[in-house]
Symmetry: C4
Subunit: 191 residues, 4 copies
Amino acid sequence: MEKDRVQAFSDGVIAILITIMILELKVPRGVDLAALRPLVPALFTYVLSFVFLGIYWNNHHHLLHATERVNGGILWANLHLLFWLSLIPFTTGWMGENHFAPLPTAVYGVVLLLAGLAYQLLQSAIVAHQGAESRLREAVGKDVKGKISVGSYVLAIPLAFASCWISLALYVFVALLWLVPDRRIESKWRE
Amino acid sequence: MEKDRVQAFSDGVIAILITIMILELKVPRGVDLAALRPLVPALFTYVLSFVFLGIYWNNHHHLLHATERVNGGILWANLHLLFWLSLIPFTTGWMGENHFAPLPTAVYGVVLLLAGLAYQLLQSAIVAHQGAESRLREAVGKDVKGKISVGSYVLAIPLAFASCWISLALYVFVALLWLVPDRRIESKWRE
Amino acid sequence: MEKDRVQAFSDGVIAILITIMILELKVPRGVDLAALRPLVPALFTYVLSFVFLGIYWNNHHHLLHATERVNGGILWANLHLLFWLSLIPFTTGWMGENHFAPLPTAVYGVVLLLAGLAYQLLQSAIVAHQGAESRLREAVGKDVKGKISVGSYVLAIPLAFASCWISLALYVFVALLWLVPDRRIESKWRE
Amino acid sequence: MEKDRVQAFSDGVIAILITIMILELKVPRGVDLAALRPLVPALFTYVLSFVFLGIYWNNHHHLLHATERVNGGILWANLHLLFWLSLIPFTTGWMGENHFAPLPTAVYGVVLLLAGLAYQLLQSAIVAHQGAESRLREAVGKDVKGKISVGSYVLAIPLAFASCWISLALYVFVALLWLVPDRRIESKWRE
């Protein structure tokens, strides 16, 4: 099984997800600034989810780049990741439209957490398939970033019921963690 | 006619179908657990349809992999398959929103049945085009899985009017049949 | 400018159009056969438009296959074609939801007519770019099918105000004209 | 990092954006010409945005054609551009449905302006990555067209509150600036 079609299919799904989210941003009825104001949280959530999907696309790209061949297990691990990513437009819409109410903010984190775990599952499936001399295992290292992300989600989910701002801060922190391209930090964390 | 563009087009359509289904999952008005509860059947249906489309994408991949060239007949057999697959988001929405009412549950099975038959038609068109020494005919064998699937749909459709749970169990059974990667069973069934 | 990306972009747009049409098929509220009945004209229109877009994808494939290189003019002629095709989901929804009322049925034909003319414009742009020894000019020949199609649309548009069935019969006739794979007829018409 | 997947992903996103805009064109209830009349501004806006996205796709194509390799910075500059482009269906819907009310018309320009600046940022990131002997820097030259576009948007945004027609005229002017294929003018402006 060649990896090309897996890559093309994943690219397609992520490209569609990143763009259909915008359909949740309903065109307002009014034509003044007051009509735009209720959209601010929705727009902020959209930006956040756009960045998350961008990070996943980027990392997915690197992951498959380090992969030579795929088997049935990897294929389904990949579809499993795409499944959780496909729920992001839904949780984005729910959290954004309800101005960061506790439950939607927690559920947003649950989907991010499950997507994060699905990504690690996919990573493990590829490492296992590559066997003892896996190039990928070396590149991934201890995967400190991945672990910090999962830990942040686990914290953010219950904290959403205390204060949505803490949860949002944690989501933004995870996004920045992957965005900031400081390679020294990155290589340190990967040791 | 090269098969590349047929593959790319089919990938595109399936990737879009698998993601627009999520648009049927309407963002709820409320922000408590009670607001999520009516979504449970819709979410379950979404998962089921996601898996079915994933299976079709996977099998379609293998099918075209064993194909060297395509003609006009194969092209239209492929579009015919994509047509029935394109109705899955509609039946998914109808069945999920109506909590597995008899008719939507039966119609869900009708579309799966017609997609299944369209797949076998495509398969036959490719085998016929490859002629006497078709690599694909050998690989497909007696296609026991395909026949069990069609039989299950034929059973599930009328049974939806007796009990939707029997029909759903049959749909889940077919999905598992294709998902479970037990290769010994698979090779046996293909004899 | 390579033609690969033009092909990929066009494939993407047509694949999306063919699938978003299904979003116009609104999930009905009821769960009995009576709930499905008003959908019949919408479903019929969907099938018709699916076939038309399938034909365009197919012909577009052949057209670009016979093209070596593209220039700015061809690129915009291609986007012009995609523009008219992009209106098909709109006219499909309007005609289908209104059970073939005169104006929507006529407008459906207007968009098909303009898409047809856009296709011939694209064809001419490619022939002109290829110069005197154009492979494509020979393949296209007198383009009898194209002319019959345009003529049928021109007839169908005003006739929609007399009887929608005549217009629909003409649309179906054009679709069959391109679908039926009788190569002897095809080669005759191309002489 | 190969540029192929960046290209494919961008093509996918732009193809989706150009087609989901049509979903904002709501199927009218009525079946007479009066039902179509309120759609005229929406349709005009759709055409304008279709042309803008077509221009971006075209220019993006040329930009990446002149690029050999991409790094993390270029990748995110590209996603940043796609982000602003992804807001075009929203502003298109808002301006079109409100018949060019001042604020929506200004916001339409704001998004075009930010997309334009994002494009120049991407351009600069690629030039910087290519170093002293950048092929692209030469091709871009003084980028007079880009500067005129940005200037036109900066004018159009406040003027929307005086008269929407001036702003619209400026948007159309920018679109024509990039559409008209007069190469002598183009090469002059690039000096």
